[in-house]
Structures are given as C-alpha cells and as structure tokens.
Symmetry: none
Subunit: 201 residues, 4 copies
C-alpha cells in the first residue's frame, strides 16, 4: 500500500470517527454532512469520495463492532452450543450498547428497507446474522450437540427476532432498560428452556 492509499484510508477513518461521535451525540437528522467533514477536518466534497449518500456512513460506523462477533464464535470451538448462543446474545447487545442509542436508531431506520441500502452485503445484515447463526446451530446438529430433528431454521428465526426486537424496544423506550441485564435474563428463562428438548446428552 503506497502513501496515497494510506492517506485515503486515513481520511475515511477520520470521517467515520467524526461521524460516530456526532451521531452518538445528536442523532442522524440533527447533523449534516458539513458537520461531519468539519469535525473530520476535510472538505465537504470529500465526504462523497467515500460515501455515496449521507446515510451510507452509518453502515460503516456500525459495521465495525458487529463484524467481530462472527469470528469470535468461530474460535470458541470448545464451548457448548448453549454457551455459544449465550455469548452471541451477550455480544450482540454489547455492540448495540456500545454503538449508542442514536447510532442504533439510525442504523435500524436505514436497514429497515433493504432497498435503500446499496450493493453491499451490509445492507443485508439481517440475512448475514441469520445465516451465521443458522450455521452455528447446524454445526451443533452435526456435532451431535443437538438432536437430528432440531428445527434450526425456526430457532434461528426466533433468536434473531428476539435480538433485533430487544434492540428495537431499547430504542423505543429511550434507553430505559439495561440491554445486557435483560439479555442475561432472556437467556436464562427463554433460550435455555427453548433449547432444552433439543439437547442431546
């Protein structure tokens, strides 16, 4: 990577950092492109070198924390499926919380209509999460942790809905509950019960 490419990457990073901070602080609608570029110390037009539309930066902002979850689960081969899932719940909501409520809101607004989200797989985060989780469950069936007849598709659907639902409710309640506390309770009362009958001993 030559000097120019490095500089370009650095510029993009500055924009994302500035955008993240502003978004956290004020929310998407309350900031404009110029606010971001000003904070990043670049020209207004430079924004459009890296993002096609104002909204697109949100995807990049939120991609950072989420993208790591998949890898983590991969590297937990020794753990039981239940523990993997608990970890998944936990990390998902941790990311949600660390992004902050405004970023979450805008991200949700954006991806609510996948047609708004151009080209990338990121527009399909839902699908991505779904596939990843289903894969984890299917592997557990293959590893004989879960019974043959486990409805992995349905379980995946339920879990994803619950996570996205918790996030949505958190935004709607204006952050009135602690995501991580509730996540733990959800796992205890719901996740474990639901999986119990599919666990192989």
């Amino acid at each position: 990577m030559n000097k120019r490419q490095t500089a370009a990457l650095e510029t993009k990073r500055k924009l994302i950092t500035a955008g993240l901070e502003l978004l956290r602080e004020k929310g998407f609608d309350a900031i404009n492109v110029e606010d971001i570029t000003q904070k990043a110390g670049v020209a207004k037009g430079t924004f459009y070198t890296y993002f096609k539309r104002k909204e697109d930066i949100v995807l990049d902002i939120s991609r950072v924390p989420f993208s790591e979850i998949a890898d983590e689960i991969e590297n937990m081969k020794e753990l039981h499926i239940i523990e993997k899932l608990i970890h998944y719940y936990h990390r998902f909501m941790e990311c949600v919380e660390s992004c902050g409520i405004n970023v979450c809101r805008q991200w949700t607004r954006d991806v609510l209509d996948p047609n708004n989200v151009p080209e990338t797989k990121d527009g399909q985060k839902w699908k991505y999460d779904y596939d990843m989780l289903k894969n984890i469950l299917d592997n557990a069936v293959r590893n004989e942790e879960l019974k043959e007849n486990t409805p992995t598709e349905l379980l995946t659907h339920i879990i994803i809905s619950e996570l996205y639902g918790m996030m949505t409710c958190w935004c709607m309640s204006d952050g009135k509950f602690e995501p991580l506390d509730w996540t733990d309770k959800f796992c205890e009362v719901q996740l474990k019960t639901m999986l119990e009958k599919y666990i192989r001993r």
Copy 2:
C-alpha cells in the same frame, strides 16, 4: 354532533385514508403533505387543521388497527391464558401485515425515538403494549392460571421483544417471509415451552 362537526370528521377521515394509501404505496419519506391533501381532495393548509406536524398522521393511521387488539382480549374472559397470548401474537402480526410493509417501516422509524412523538400517549405505543400485556399476565396470576412466582415483567418483555423483532425482521427482509405462519410456529415452539413451567394445573 352538528353538521359542521360531521363534515370536519369526514375531512379528517379522508386525510387518514389518503395518507394510509400513499404510505403503503411509497413510504413516508417519498410523500409530502401536498400529496396527501391532493389525494384527499382538500387544500394543503387543511392538513394542519387536523395534524400539528406531518408525522402525526402516521400515528393516527397505525392506531386504527392496533387499538382493537386490547378490547378483543378483554372480551375473551373464558379463554385460557395461553390461548389469549396466542391470540395476541396472531392479531398483532395480522395488524402488521394488513398495514403493509411501508406503513410498518415508517411507523417503526417514527417511534424508534419517542422524543419525536410527543404529546400523544401513542408515541409510547411500546409502553402501551407492554402495560397491556403485563396486565393480562398479572390477571392470569390473580386468576390462578399462572403460578405466584411467574416473572410477569420478564415474560412481557420477552414477548414484546419477539413481536417487535418479528416485525422488524419482516421489514428488513423486504417481506420475504409470511408473518402469520411464523407467528404460529413461534407460539408452538417458544411461547408454550416458556410458559409451561408457570402454568398451574
């Protein structure tokens, strides 16, 4: 109610109907106040006789179907708590589906930040749903359908998250699955299992 009041009500109804149709068709951001008034056959300014801000019409649009669920459950005294909840799940998603994906999206976007939706209690639909559902569960404890130690708050939270999550996922998937089919499966695999240990026999 005199003639004038009737006419006024009729005008409001026309606005809501027009707004609903447009919202379904195009989504909130793609329409403006004039679109609505034009379709309703009234002048632009008339909109502001009935709604303080553009967003406010969405609340009126979405209130219609949802507000009926509460009453229905009220009138099902003879049913078992499980059946009431199944009915709740079912009706909720029925409303979601009948509103259409664009209305759902916009409604979600709006209420995602309750600070945007002031003055009306409907801006707190989440809270309203929550309270109503918790009430149903608490009643079931009082009626001795559920055990004394049932964590009604947690169960309510889980159910609401699941419903809102299913709705969110439906929007994100661009309507790729059938809400009602999945709802039924959710009830079967998840709801029933989760409640089982709290049921009094």
Copy 3:
C-alpha cells in the same frame, strides 16, 4: 377573479419581468433563481410556485411576444399571401430581436430537446409555428391565391427552417448582423422567387 388570484398573477408577472431583464443582461447560466426572486422582491421558494424548474421561466418570457403573431396574421385578411408571409418573417425576427440575444439563446437551448420541455404545447413551439404557417398557405390555396399543386408542406418547412436558421445564425454570430435588414433581403431574393411559380394571377 378575486383578490388572491390577482395577487398571484401579479407575483408571476413580477418574476417574469425580473427574469427577462436579468436574462437579457447576463444570460441564463450566469444568473440563479435567487437573483430573479430577489429582483422580483419575493422569496426564493415563490419561484417554484410558478415554475417547476429554473428553465421554465424562459418559455414564459419568450411566449409573450411570439404569441401575438398568429393573431395579427388572422386579422390581415385583405392582404395578399406574399405580403402576409413577408409580415410573418418580419414580425418573427422583430420578436427575436426584441427578446434579446441571451433570451433567444436560452430559449433555443431549451426547446432543442422537446423532451426537456414539460407538458405544454409551448415546448412544441416549432410544431405550433409550423402548423400555423401551413394553415396560412393552405388558406391561400383555398382562396385561389396559390395554385392547386402548391407543395404547402414543403414551403412551410423551408420558411420555418429559414427563420429558425436566421435566428440561430444571429446568436452564433453574436449579433453581428441586423436581423431585420437581412429578413427583408431574404424575402426579396428568396421568398418571392420561390413562391412566384405558385402564384395564381
């Protein structure tokens, strides 16, 4: 017409007047919508109450002088066809000259692609002129001023091309020749010769 409608008409007139003056002075590309509204003494947004796009005002500016030619010819029943046509040539170029070179240029640029010119017949000024002129010639055939076999369609085409061509050349030469002088010479040397053999005596 009530007070409000009168006021609206007045506003539009102010915009057209302001636009005409600025256009004459500086040319289309050198002025922006705000210049026009400022000169007209109205708010920027008001421009868009009357014109869908910046370009559209040019059509209204130029329509004024041209639209009268048709009526004039109508009211010259006693004149010979040759004299009518000479009058037509003359008046056309008079309008061109009185509009000024910048208005002409922009008008030509606009209508050069009829797909740019929305809805109205005015976008089809060429067609309008053509039809009107052909009508004059056809009437002359009917009145037995011109012979039965006169190729009115072709003659119309030639005349219209010549007029639009003279206008185009005038713009291209940056106003280096006097439109009216040349028009008279055109009529003398070309128009008369061309028509001669179709004149009935």
Copy 4:
C-alpha cells in the same frame, strides 16, 4: 514521433471516442468528465492533459466529420456550381445525421454563444462555413458560371441559415423528419429557383 507521443495520441483518441459515444447516447449535460474517462479507461485527471475544459472535447468530436466537406468541394472542379451546392447541402445534413441528434443538440447549444467557445477557430464554425461557402460562390462568379451582379453575400447567408435552420428544426422535432430527404426537396424547390436568375449560360 516517438513512443510517448504515440501513446499520448492514442489516449486522446480514446477520450474522443468515449466522449462521442456518451454524447450521442445521453447528451452533454447528462455526462460528466468522469464518465468519459471511465469509458476511455484512463484516470479522471488525464482528461485535463488534453482538454482545458469539459466543453472542449465537443469541438474535437464535431470537427471530425464537418471539416472534410471543404476539401471535397475543392476537389470537384469539374462540377457546375449548382451541383457543388447541392453536394454541400447533402453532405452537411449527412454529417448532421451521422453525428446523431444529441451531439447536434449539444454542439448547437455550445456554439450558440461564441463567447463560450474561445481560442479555437472552431468556435466560429458558423463563420468558417460562411466564408467557405462564400468563397465557392465567388469563385463561380470568377469562373463566369454566375453573373457579375450575383449577391454572393446574401446567397451565402440564405443557404447557411437554411442549413442551420434545418438542423435546428430537426433537433426540435426530436428527429421526426428525414434530414436527407428534405434536403433534396429544398434544393429542388428553393435552391435551384433562387440561383436560376444568376446563372450564366
């Protein structure tokens, strides 16, 4: 010419070719410098190695076909002046047609104001055509094909107006008539008649 010069010429050729294609397809305003460079397979900045401003490429594009007409007429010494002129009409419209309607439009828009097209003589294409044509007529006077008193200036003016007018009308009609067919009729009915009285026998 060394290797580097050859490569440079090749790059310029690629840009012109790409520009021509895009211009035909979409028209000048609808394309930007990046479209052209992308299609040509070079970097954006390279454009400015060869053209001072975006508009300048149009001149290079349109120069190609037109510039040949002059030479052709030169090499037709044995033909009669009438036939030369007919050839001129024909070739002019052939060029117009082969350039395509969008290129014609843009070219017309550009040269409509010669102040926009400085530095090159081609900005004065009108003048160039005029001079060339006048030269042909003057030669015909000198060769005693035309009478001494032929108003060559006026005839040139008429012919040029007619050709540019036909082109303008063709654009305005959105290509609704066949330029070449009409050109032939024009020559037959108008050009020949007009010249007749100046022909020496």
